[in-house]
Symmetry: none
Subunit: 373 residues, 3 copies
């Protein structure tokens, strides 16, 4: 049974609680155990993770992004889940997330606060386990604490030998038969939830049309990035180097999509930075193939900035440049690049321009070589 | 004159070299100075930056991304440029990048190598300066060194009081009149280069059609992310939390585009992780508004994974979820959200479904409240 | 002999200086060499690393975290150490941090400043080497430079083939026999220091939550970090600097909880790295107040590592140290610290020990001051 199937059907049998000796359930629990947070009995079932919120974790108003909280919740869940699933014999395994229940953000969290995420295993079936997580945000200056989030996550243990193999989950002890019964109900409910959404997965993907390989449209790619504190100078405009890194990232994805191999940046044409990009902006970085020779790909990259909040500024082109990539084999030797399928006059025009840049560079390089000899 | 104009016309006058006393030019240069790299005379003109290359800096084959090198080059340039421009009286200023000359990646760089970026100011005009940068990659195990890149960057100093005000650049001393003349030629050449590309900037932006505000298409957003080492478990599949963070990021951009205010995540519907996403994949995360109430926006987020190299796996839907965002004013109080302009039957259908989820949640919340009273 | 033993007993024999040809000691030192910082002869013994301080490196008041400085110090040390240990034949190896001598933060560092870390190898024994590091912070706007830190670190070279095998260290040339003799004394002193702290390693730290302000339990804090790729060397053990950064983070949270003000790291007592921490481990970093004077807080920090998957290794104490923090007002002037409410004999004992460390340091500082006058 592979991970996906397991996640879908999970376990039909109801797990029977067995009596477990403490020594069996915490095989690794020796002298060092007392050191880490809770007492020996709970160390496997409970877990807490804390972190200080930094400027990059928040938007321009200081509100910590929900995504940062979700990421911490899942980190806690995957640690406690992995730890629990390795408390018995058998292959070593990792807990892989298969579902997060609906979750609400109850209070905003701010930069400078410490976020505490406490996770507890609350139900185990044969092949899955439920982790409930509570998120507390603490203002360490005033001592004030608030409940920021509560979440429930479902994990399945995947073997380290073969991540598609789902392992069995050691059962937990419940405080009472009622607790176990409640857990079983949640377990049944999530199974139904999963099935309902399964249909959605198969839905056609309207967002990226399935174009013909090796056309310009096939490899064209675009990313958006919300400009954060660490992208900016002290007077809140983006470092040129940050923009260039994003441009190279998009160009690399375009190149890899075109040739499906390991690719590296070979050169970058002159880049002009026409306008400053300010903190809080969203930048859209788009790359498309303009020209392909036997051994190289030229990708035009455009950077558009958009101040979401300041409507006066609106959207504007901030930077543009041509990146050249080459394709490499496993010994880092250059490979041939598939030819580009041109469609329409605009693409043809850009191809011709790219070819002329390519030939100019070639001539220039040859001239330099001769001069050096 | 604002920064952009300055960068375009830069200075028509040729700067006259003045004799400068060392004591004036390095006001802060006292006892500690010897410690900072080169000797006192060179400290303003030269600068070196070194860093160890980590897994996150490279692709799945261990090749360091060109963008990482470009970012280091620009960091060195902006430090040396800023330092130089503040060696005279007048407003404090920051060097802002306006142009990078064509640059070539001469040797691949790998994880575990130390990259040394040395920057030197090689020309100054009245309002701009040229920094030449050399990048050496050193294998600290074998001692082997290779030249990885050479680049030339142009900066203009922008006042900290008003970043749109361009300051004057203190002149440098040249080793010989020939060196100065060569620099002036490069300066004239880049001015012509800048003008040529200026035309491109005004070109229509074909990539994001100029849609009507408050439609679904207007705020729809999509990002791509190349899965790196830090996104993954030890067996190289993406943490669920990493995916959720990207989803929240896209949903937040959609919400901010729709209402142009500070927005925060209010809740996330159950998320199912259907398939594992592997290291080296490109994930495309797309968000679009499905439903808007007076005070909230529901955004559907789809995550598609695409193994660029493994053609067998191809592209697949890995996760999907509904995020709900609210809009906040400066006191973190909820604001009204502009209504959504629906176009076509598909959008109408998704709107109705979203509305029914919204009403269900409302009913559930009211019931919970009553129970608690 | 494994790494830990080596670190404990290190080498009993005194190394005999051999004549080394420059061509042997710098195998990779060819034409490209001039470009890398110092001249050819010194390139192995000296190394400099520089970086601009970003918002994420600092707290909400703009003070750069001591942990960021410690991490840079260790990066420089591990680069120069690894480079040096590979200048002879034999297995390729990595320098692993085993000890940091007591270090003091002499001036606060702020966002936007450039930090220069210069490292130099100052002593070599048969199986270990000492790196001395100087940290200069430069305000590139005013040109002002200040000495921010001075540190000494001890490394042992571990074979890449088998990271538990300790290699021999090529000897360095000393400027004078006196320099060598001084180094030997520091080497003997650190060996004694290491033995003394060995006892501490086994001590547990129970969690004692307490809601009353200014008690030890009130401010005790703990964070958990899952070790990822970018925390690790190419042979998958954690960089010492990564551990120190986490320790400083926890100590800072403890200090802020106790006094509710802006706090900064003032000094760190000698840190011994008893065991390697491997990729995939979970580290729990716990901090608690041990002693408080009028103007400073001493925080004991313990780092426990736990392999979630490998039950053989189990949980173990990897590092422990004492951090001293001070509280600052808005003008960065020291504030009084609230007294610590001691509960029970253990806390009292630790308080007395902390007090005696505090008084020793005070005496030492006064003696140094007098000597300088």
């Amino acid at each position: 049974m592979d991970c996906k199937e397991a996640a879908d059907e999970v376990d039909k049998t109801v797990t029977v609680m067995e009596k477990r000796e403490p020594s069996q359930s915490q095989p690794g629990c020796r002298d060092g155990c007392k050191d880490v947070g809770a007492g020996c009995e709970d160390v496997v079932k409970k877990f807490q993770l804390s972190r200080l919120m930094l400027p990059d974790d928040a938007n321009f108003m200081g509100n910590v992004h929900g995504g940062i909280i979700l990421k911490m919740i899942e980190e806690a869940g995957s640690i406690i889940g992995t730890r629990h699933c390795n408390t018995q014999n058998g292959d070593r395994c990792l807990a892989a997330l298969v579902r997060v229940e609906k979750t609400e953000f109850l209070s905003p969290v701010f930069i400078g606060e410490v976020v505490h995420v406490s996770a507890e295993i609350t139900y185990t079936s044969k092949h899955s386990l439920e982790v409930q997580v509570k998120v507390i945000a603490e203002n360490i200056l005033t001592g004030a604490k608030k409940l920021a989030n509560k979440a429930a996550l479902w994990y399945v243990p995947c073997s380290l030998q073969n991540v598609d193999k789902v392992m069995e989950v050691p059962p937990i002890k419940y405080a009472s038969p009622e607790k176990e019964e409640e857990g079983r109900k949640r377990y049944e409910a999530q199974k139904i939830g999963r099935m309902e959404t399964k249909a959605r997965v198969e839905e056609p993907m309207p967002l990226r049309p399935n174009l013909e390989r090796h056309t310009v449209g096939f490899s064209q790619s675009s990313l958006i990035h919300l400009v954060g504190s660490s992208d900016c100078t002290v007077v809140d405009f983006v470092y040129g180097g940050v923009a260039m890194k994003l441009m190279d990232e998009v160009a690399g994805i375009v190149a890899a999509r075109h040739c499906g191999t390991n690719i590296v940046t070979a050169s970058v044409d002159a880049i002009n930075f026409h306008c400053k990009i300010r903190k809080g902006c969203v930048v859209t970085v788009t790359g498309r193939l303009t020209f392909v020779s036997n051994r190289s790909m030229e990708i035009e990259v455009l950077v558009d900035a958009d101040s979401l909040v300041d409507r006066q500024t609106g959207k504007y082109r901030a930077v543009s440049a041509f990146f050249t990539f080459i394709s490499l084999d496993k010994e880092n030797k250059p490979l041939n690049v598939p030819p580009l399928k041109i469609e329409g006059d605009d693409e043809q025009k850009r191809f011709e321009e790219g070819k002329s840049r390519y030939l100019q560079n070639k001539t220039r390089r040859l001239a330099e070589k001769e001069r050096q000899q």
